[in-house]
Amino acid sequence: MELGPYLVLATLEGAITAAVLALTAVGLSLVFGVMRVVNIAHGEFFMLGAVLAWWIAQSVAGHPAIGFALALIFAPLLVGALAVAADMTILKRLNYDPERTIVATIGLLYIIQQLTLMGYGPDARPVEAPFNTRLAIPWFERGAEGWQMIWPWGLGTTTYKLAVIGAAAMILCAVWALMTRSRIGLVMRATQADREMALAFGIPVERVYALVFGFGAALAALAAVLIVPIQQAHYLMGGDPLLLSFIVVIIGGLGSLPGTVLAAVLIGLSDGIISVFFSPTLAKIIATLLVALVLVFRPQGLFGGRRT
């Protein structure tokens, strides 16, 4: 293949990474923005979403689409409920003290990860996509008789991959509408702006916190259900999304939703392209160092300043 079609392919793969990453990172960003809690266990909620999706899909007979649809609904709900329970039993009792909650979520990370290892085992397992038609992408080339359309070998995608990008975009719009246009979003933003004042106005801040924590985890789980027909479910799969979400949230500005989405697109696309041309390990080293330096020198993030 020539460079051109190759780049198109890398961009497409990058767009899928970006879509899933945006969902995961928005969950992390919401939790940090509203609760000021850095949730190290976020990647494990992602992993749990994928594992639950596999479990639901394999226990339902019939067409794979039925199982997948059920997973799409129930995996995020279950993970969200678990996160709400964790919030009420652990984080609430720590009074949301930033440093102690980090230590507690590290503990939570190991608990979820290791229990999954015990229950689900160390194997990677696939979930069948509900629909998966191959699409070839045409490429235009200047030949002897002017421009002509060709179909390069290997250049193509599947309907499912495109659907993932579309679904992620739709969910993000819904989250945005929820935050800016609904009453519950207003309450969340009020709590984020000033916890004490919100409490004084009769907002049940603790219930809002539990809800936000559950919602953030559910978003991560939803992202995982979307990606699991492309990647496989594995008990260690939470590490990368956690690291990438951190990078995205920090570069996008802590707690800023538009910044987070923008950064997710940027990181997702460049991750796809950089990994093609350089070693993935080198790409990760550069990304982690970049994040650390951004935190040191520009704590408000590269697109910081704006707050939603």
Binding site: V38, I90, R93, L94, P98, E99, R100, I102, V103, A104, I106, G107, L108, L109, Y110, I111, I112, Q113, Q114, L115, L117, M118, P122, L243, F246, I250, S279, T281, L282, K284, I285, T288, L289, V291, A292, L293, L295, V296, F297, P299
Partner: protein, 310 residues
Amino acid sequence: MRAYAIHAGLLAILLALHFTLPAYHHGNLARVMVLASYAMGYNLLFGYTGLLSLGHALFFAAGMYGMGLGIQHLGLSPAPALLLGLASGAVVSGLLAALALRTSGVAFMIVTLMFAQAGYLTVLYFGEVTRGDEGFVIQQAQRVLWGVDLSAEGNRYIAALLLFGTCLMVSLWLVRSAFGRVLVAIRENEDRVRMLGYDVFAHKLAAMMISGGMAALAGAAYGLLFGYVGATFASVQYSIFPLLWVLLGGAGTVLGPFIGTLFMFYLIDLGSDLTTAYMLIAGVALVLLTLFAPQGVMGEVRRRFWRELP
């Protein structure tokens, strides 16, 4: 004086155990003492200065690889290799401190975590030199320090005890000195210390370099005594371990890190007999500790029985 007597008493007990313990526990205790030295280094920063680092594996690994690569590629003998490990730990912690100390609180935790992760990936990236995940073995012939074969069980225990004793006494002396008092004051109220005219940044920098140096020395000794250097020791898990040990034993107490390391080592040792998911124990312990006993074992002892415990 009483404080010194108690700590010297612990060292005397450990020496006595050298002659009485069965082989299996004898070997374990040698490991625990080296790891406890690592935890003590961590404790100086976390327990006394109040800076929670999530990246100490970077220093532990800097010491271990400084020593290991010195032996493997430069053909050093153990003594200069240990010094090289210590020096690389001090340099790495100094550099990281210069950057990370510009932040505080949660940002400090994430910055240290990210740098440690970058360090871990760097070890993997230069796999040809470091042998990456696989690691490399330091041959028995390369582990003879001043005519003493450190791969022999008895010598190993005594060397670990020497390292542990040195770190213990240095910690004890340090936290009772004027310098140590300033560190505690920074933990309690940074602004007031600054107002009193102390250079907070310089004190934090020094604390982080001492802490990193001690961690690196422990890392170098671990590699030398047990003959293996690998990337696992640079991973996040080894940044979480000292935090767990110190929290369990009691942050801000000199004896705490040893107690915590001892308990956790045996707990995980027992757990790994039962299941492969032994890190579950670490997770549960972390959550329970932050919830119910943020003071740790020795913290409780200090609160209930002996207020002057260093």
